[in-house]
Each structure stands twice: as structure tokens, then as C-alpha cells.
Symmetry: none
Subunit: 191 residues, 4 copies
DNA sequence: AATGAATGAGTGTTCATTCAT
DNA sequence: TATGAATGAACACTCATTCAT
């Protein structure tokens, strides 16, 4: 957790960290580069974070929360399960298209042991309402009766991979590309 | 006359590289650790690969080819598109479940610039038959008429994410779990 | 009108410096720690001392003067040379036992070049009366006719080492331990 | 403990360490300087010692053993207690005069917590024969019946301080200076 | 070919000192 | 005067790569 000193600096540090980690991975992240990109001195970085690990973990937590907000949004609550799901899916897909670095950052280290399990759990807690929503959909027979974890993995994996290919330039998402993708997602889980 | 290079050593090096990269990422990979895990001296590693980058690229190429083989297999050719697709999907899913490190290794660096574009293209070429198969499926109206790249990304992303959650222990894949996952995959692309 | 500098703060700084230097040596002394232990901000420390070196030198000077006062004291002037010497020796030994950190601090850097020669000389000047006293003892044939510098080194070295072992817990000084030590000191120099 | 690679390098490293520590203390010791003074690269230093602390501790152990050898020497065993003590004292005094840096190095950190207690004890064990010799001297009524630890501290402190003053140039030890100093030492402990 | 000690540029982190408030 | 955030040079330690054997 950063000492609350200058929120502008914290933001700049987060931004720089996300961009650099996306390019080089955690091990390749250089504190000096983070500092430079943030417009501060190396030493100053350590005024805000006492180690590289703490920095990574903090950025992870904040980003995960932001992502949860991109999916779980009061405005997305519609009359039908389908409509709500559609809004949420588009919320997430749109977020990933807009901030692919954040998506990549968050994806990058869950399997590497750099983020503490405690923080992973803490971040996951923000997605609880999503679980509830999906379970209700199952109870009302809107979607297949599959473990929620599998459902989420399936949906998220699809979105991530498509966005990654898009970022790489391997995929040109036409105007209706997003809708086509959504249709695949919906068809895969609907009853 | 011995082979120029000792294939046993090459295999050990590949195995060590894959396991270590999975845990630490490319930047975190230490040549000394690779050597130790391979049972050879540091200097010997450089007899086989002239740099870390070359090592990574070679392992990438070999692994990608192996993966292609897990999908594209004469035995998988069945009477119907559905049956063939099913065999291929299970071939890939099974491979990922068996060798998650290889899946993670290959996934890890495509977006990081460590693998040369030339090698990415070279590896992708092995999947050409898959593209052909999918396009035929579209022409015969078995599956949705969506950019093949998107189709592949969607299917692969789903598989990868599910396997990752399984490896992490967040998902318990019951006996019929694989079939459930396949159903989602098929439902998402079928016409 | 307040004093230019707050003497309470100066005292706190001196105390903190002595305790910390004893534990870590001059190079290991951290200005931030001195400040914290003194109950002031880092920047404030620089209001009182313009550098670490100046701080060390000032503490050295003040402490050396205090030590001189522990030896050279009008109350210690007795009727005989022996009695006076005894009082002085006990004054010094008692001081070292009471303030071993100060003894260690002063001892620590004389051979390290951190204290300027000018300040060493300035501090040594306070011991001039001791030299006179010893010389007189020699002229009156009370003690051996040895270079005063050697005499002082011999006596001081013995006291310091014994106190150090005591502080380390390697020596238990019984009630009469001090007298035994004094007897060694006296026997070594008496004619 | 150093890996036994190249004893010449180990010797050079020890020499450099002792000289530098004497000047700057443990905290001020720079690994890069040790390497340079030893004629090796920084990284090489870490081939021999895995950390600064391990280096210091090893040098301490080796030096302490050497010092023990300077006092406890079969050649010093004479017919009388006095003659033997005299030989030992001169052995130690001579050693300190010849290698004052080693004397200072060893003295420097016992009170600083840098040398592990285990190693201090290990080093002290080499002085056990000296303890036995002094105890016998007490039993045979040659010297005062004082705690051996105090005796050693007294004798050692005197020698160290005199040598330090000599090194600093504050004392000129004439030809017979050593004998004068020995006389003080003997007079202080004889019965 | 195989070895592993040697190298030195590079990285995370610290800390004396400065400076805006 | 007092503060403590900011600075950046410096340092312990690492690691890809080389090279003598």
C-alpha cells in the first residue's frame, strides 16, 4: 500500500508500471525505467513503494478493482438476463479493447507467484456479484449449469485472446466484429 | 561418429527451459539455472545455443510444432466435420492439460517481442491445415462464418484459461468436465 | 528571545549519535536514524549540523571534553600522588563503566581519519593537566620514567578493554573487581 | 567459508579486506574496492564469498587463528613461567607492531554485531592454551589471582593501545621501548 | 565437446543532502 | 526554524557471456 503523498505521482507510477510490465514481464521491469517514465527520480519511487514487489502488488489490486467496475455496473442492470449479460460482456470487452495493457498486466502474473495469494483473493472478492448473477441465470435456466469458475474462465479466455490478437494486428475487428464475438459467447453458455 | 549435438542434452535443455520460463518469465530465466537443471555446465549451454534469445526461440519453434501435431493428426480425420472438430478440440485440450507448462511457455512471449516475428510466422505455418479445415467447415455451413483468426483465438483462449484455472486449482474438472467444455466450444461456433 | 539553537535538541542529537555509532560505526550511521531517534525531522538535523562529518566531529569534541572532566577534577587532588592518581583512575574507570557508549564512540574513529586532526589536537589539549600531573609524579620518583604518551596509552588501553569485556558480558566485575584492576594499574607504573 | 578455488586470490582478498576495513570500518567497506585492490573483478569476489558478511567473518576467523599462533608457540616454552610469559608477550606485541591492520581489524567488530557469536566463540577457542598457562601461573603463585578474562583484557588492552598510538605516530618506541612496556605488563600481574 | 571460474555491465535499493512549503 | 518529500549518486549483488583448460 502506498503512502498517500501525491496522487498524481501514484497515477503516473501505475501507468508506467503497467505499460512496462506488459512489454517485459515482472522480472524485466526495471525500477529505474518506471521512475523515468513516471517523471520522478529513482529514489522517489521508493518513497511510494518500498520494493518492486509491493509496487506490482499494489498496481495489481487497483487494476483488478477497476476491471471489476467495468463489468459490474448498476447501469448494466436490464430487464432480462440476456440484456444484462450482454451489457456486462460488452463492458468487459470494451474495457479490454481500450486498456489492453491493463488486461495483459493482470493476466501476466497470476501464474507466476509474484502476486501474493492474499492479494489474489482480495482482488477476486470484487467479482463476487458477477458470480451471483451467473448463478441466478443458471437457477432461472437462462444459461448452462456449469461451474461458475469454468464459465468465467471460458468467457474471459475468449475475450482476452481475441483482444490480444487484435492488438497484435492479427485480427481486424470490423464494426460488427464485437457483436459476432458476443454471439459466440452467448451461444456457448445459453441453454 | 556421434551426432554433432547430443540430442539427450538438447531435450533436457528444452525441458528445463520450459519449466523455468513458466515460473519466472523470460527475463527471469537464468542461463545458469537452465544449465544446472539440464545437468550440464553453464559453458556447455553455450555450445548448444549462442544466446538466451536463441535458446528461447528454438524452444518456441519446437514446442509450437509439437502443439500443431496435437491438433492436426491423421487419426482425427472422421466422417463428419463435427466428429473431426471434436477430435481435434479434445486433442488440443488434452495436450494442454498434460503439458500446461508448454502451453504457458508458448503463450507467454508472443506479445513481448522476445520471439522474432519471423519465427512466429514460421511456427504459425504449421497450423495452416487447421485454417483450411475451419474454412471448409464454413463453406459447408457447419460453423459460423467468422474470420478464422477470431475463431481460433476464441477457441484457444477458452481452452487456455480453463486449463490455467485447473492448474491453479481454482477449477476441479470432473470426469465429464471436458465434455461440458467442448459443448460450450461447439455451441459457440456451430451454425 | 530563544537561543539560536535549541539545546534540548542538540543533546538529543548527541545522545542518538553516540548510541548509533557505537552499534554501527561511522559509515553505518544514518542521518535519518539520528533524526528519528532524536525526535526531529531529517531536514531539521541539517539545521543544526551541515553534514554528517560535522556532526561526528562536534560530538567527538564535546564527549572528549566530558571525559577529560571525569579524570581532571579538583576534588581528586589529594595529599599524596598515589591518592590523587587513585582518585583519577577511579574517576575514569567509573565514567567508562557508566557511559561505555561514549568511551566506544571516542575510541572508534581516531584511527579512521573521520575526525580531523585539528579536532583531535583540540580535544587532546584538555588532557594537558593530566600530562603535567604524570610528569610531576615521575620527577618526584613516584612512577616509572616512561614517555607520558606510552603511560597514558597503557593505562587507557587496559581500562577500555576491561570495560568492553564487561559490557559484552565476558567479565563479571565483582565488588572488589575495580580495586583489583586499579592495583594492576598502579603496580605497573609505580617505581 | 570460501570455496577453495585459487588460494592466491583468497590471500589477496583477505589482505585487501583487512587494509580497507581498518580504514573505513565494516559499513564503509566497499566490495568493489576489495575486488579492485585484490586485482579481480567484482563478480569474481562473489565466486569466493557469497556476501560481504561472509567475507568479513572468514577473514576474522583466519586472522584470529593467526594471532593465536603468534602467542601460542612451542618455541616460547621456557624453563620458567616468567621467561615463557615474556616470550609470549613479546610474540604478541611484535605481531601487533608488524601487522597493526590485523590487530585493528580483529578489534574493530567484536562490539558491533557483525561477527556472529558462533564465530567469536570458534575463534576464542584457539586461545584456550593461553588460559591454561595463566591459570597455572596463578596456581604456582607466579601471578596475581585475578579472573583470567580480566587479566587478558588488561594485557591486551595495554598492548593494543600502545601499538595504536605508535601507528598514529604519537609514540616513538625507542629500542628499549618494548622492554619498558613489557616491564609494565609484568609488574602489573606478578605477585 | 565440456567445464566452471572469471568478467563487468546492469539492477534493486539505500541514504546524505537539498528544497519547497 | 521545522518539515519530510524529492533527489541521484553510490553500493551490494546478479547474471549473460567468455575463455583458459
Amino acid at each position: 500500500m502506498p503512502k498517500l503523498k501525491d496522487q498524481n505521482k501514484v497515477n503516473a507510477i501505475h501507468k508506467a508500471t503497467i505499460e512496462l510490465v506488459t512489454k517485459t514481464g515482472f522480472s524485466g521491469l526495471k525500477m529505474a525505467e518506471v521512475a523515468k517514465k513516471s517523471g520522478i527520480a529513482t529514489g522517489t519511487l521508493y518513497v511510494y513503494y518500498k520494493s518492486k514487489e509491493e509496487l506490482i502488488n499494489d498496481v495489481y489490486l487497483v487494476t483488478k478493482e477497476e476491471i471489476a467496475g467495468a463489468i459490474i455496473n448498476p447501469e448494466y442492470l436490464k430487464d432480462t438476463f440476456y440484456e444484462t449479460f450482454k451489457a456486462m460482456w460488452h463492458g468487459y470487452f470494451g474495457y479490454c479493447m481500450q486498456y489492453p495493457e491493463k488486461m495483459l498486466f493482470v493476466e501476466q502474473f497470476i501464474y507466476s507467484g509474484y502476486i501474493s495469494e492474499v492479494n489474489i483473493a482480495k482482488a477476486d472478492a470484487h467479482f463476487e456479484p458477477l458470480d451471483q448473477f451467473l448463478i441466478q441465470g443458471q437457477q432461472n435456466n437462462h444459461i448452462k449449469d456449469i461451474s461458475v469458475e469454468i464459465l468465467k474462465a471460458h468467457l474471459q479466455g475468449s475475450v482476452h485472446e481475441i483482444v490480444k490478437m487484435h492488438v497484435r494486428g492479427d485480427i481486424q475487428l470490423e464494426e460488427d466484429g464485437m457483436h459476432i464475438c458476443f454471439n459466440m459467447a452467448w451461444d456457448s453458455i445459453k441453454t
